[in-house]
């Protein structure tokens, strides 16, 4: 699949690998585990590309994305709706998070990757370790490209893939900026339309 990625899309993925290493703590080989939010950062970092331009239109430039995903919000683990459901049955997840952060620091959750998650290396020697969710986003980006009858996977398809498979913390983050799949799709198509 990776051979279908444009140079810029590949660069965005490598940027995600780098961000994962910086933000989540590296393993013995110096790699972090790539999650969907790192892919979003990678897309935003490829500034000249359609994906980043569309994101910037929602007020989400690289710096904004980095800020939003750097502070490990408990909501990276659970969405606002999941927290509310827990509260309804008497579990204060906020308190759990507070104590964990007190004991282990606020990077604790970064270090606790989903345990059952089979990790796979992608994108060759310079690539990194990808969790299931990030891998599914990449597969989804291929599907998004095919659906649009595009031969290559660009950063815009990764962005659409991220929106098609929203995983915490992205739904809350994207909703705050009013980013929806439909809107992004329209703006991507508009951006790709050859100027008349």
């Amino acid at each position: 699949m990776s051979e279908r990625f444009t140079r810029a899309a590949r660069q965005a993925v490598l940027e995600a690998v780098k961000a994962a290493g910086q933000l989540t703590g590296a393993d013995k080989a110096g790699h972090g585990l790539v999650r969907p939010e790192h892919l979003l950062l990678g897309v935003a970092a490829a500034r000249q590309e359609v994906g980043a331009r569309v994101l910037a239109g929602f007020g989400l430039d690289e710096a904004a994305v980095r800020r939003a995903i750097t502070r490990r919000d408990p909501r990276t683990v659970l969405s606002a709706a999941e927290m509310a459901a827990l509260r309804a049955v008497g579990i204060d997840a906020d308190e759990v998070f507070r104590r964990i952060e007190e004991a282990f620091g606020d990077t604790a959750w970064f270090l606790a990757d989903a345990p059952e998650e089979p990790v796979r290396r992608l994108f060759g020697r310079r690539g990194g370790r990808f969790g299931t969710e990030a891998r599914r986003v990449l597969e989804q980006s291929l599907r998004q490209a095919l659906a649009l009858k595009h031969r290559h996977i660009g950063t815009e398809h990764i962005l659409l893939g991220l929106l098609a498979l929203p995983q915490p913390p992205l739904p809350d983050l994207l909703a705050r900026h009013g980013v929806t799949y439909e809107q992004v799709r329209q703006r991507v198509l508009a951006a790709l339309r050859p100027a008349a």
Partner: protein, 72 residues
């Protein structure tokens, strides 16, 4: 509309939607807590057997689930 529905649903613990979502969320939280605690135990030099005993599972189960992530 939708956020309102979520909040209304969340307020009623007898609503199956809320209850089931809470169970799913709890499971997710447990997975994360387990990953975190196992990691911490390993960093403090706990053996896989000791971790398995504390979790009440077999050494093999805990190793299979976490070793790939933590190494060893």
């Amino acid at each position: 509309m939708e956020p309102d529905q979520t909040l209304t649903a969340a307020a009623d613990p007898a609503d199956p939607e809320t209850g089931l979502r809470a169970v799913a969320a709890l499971r997710k939280l447990v997975d994360q807590l387990e990953a975190l605690q196992v990691r911490n135990a390993r960093q403090r030099g706990w053996s896989w057997q000791a971790i398995a005993d504390a979790l009440g599972v077999t050494r093999q189960a805990v190793h299979q689930k976490h070793a790939h992530r933590l190494g060893g």
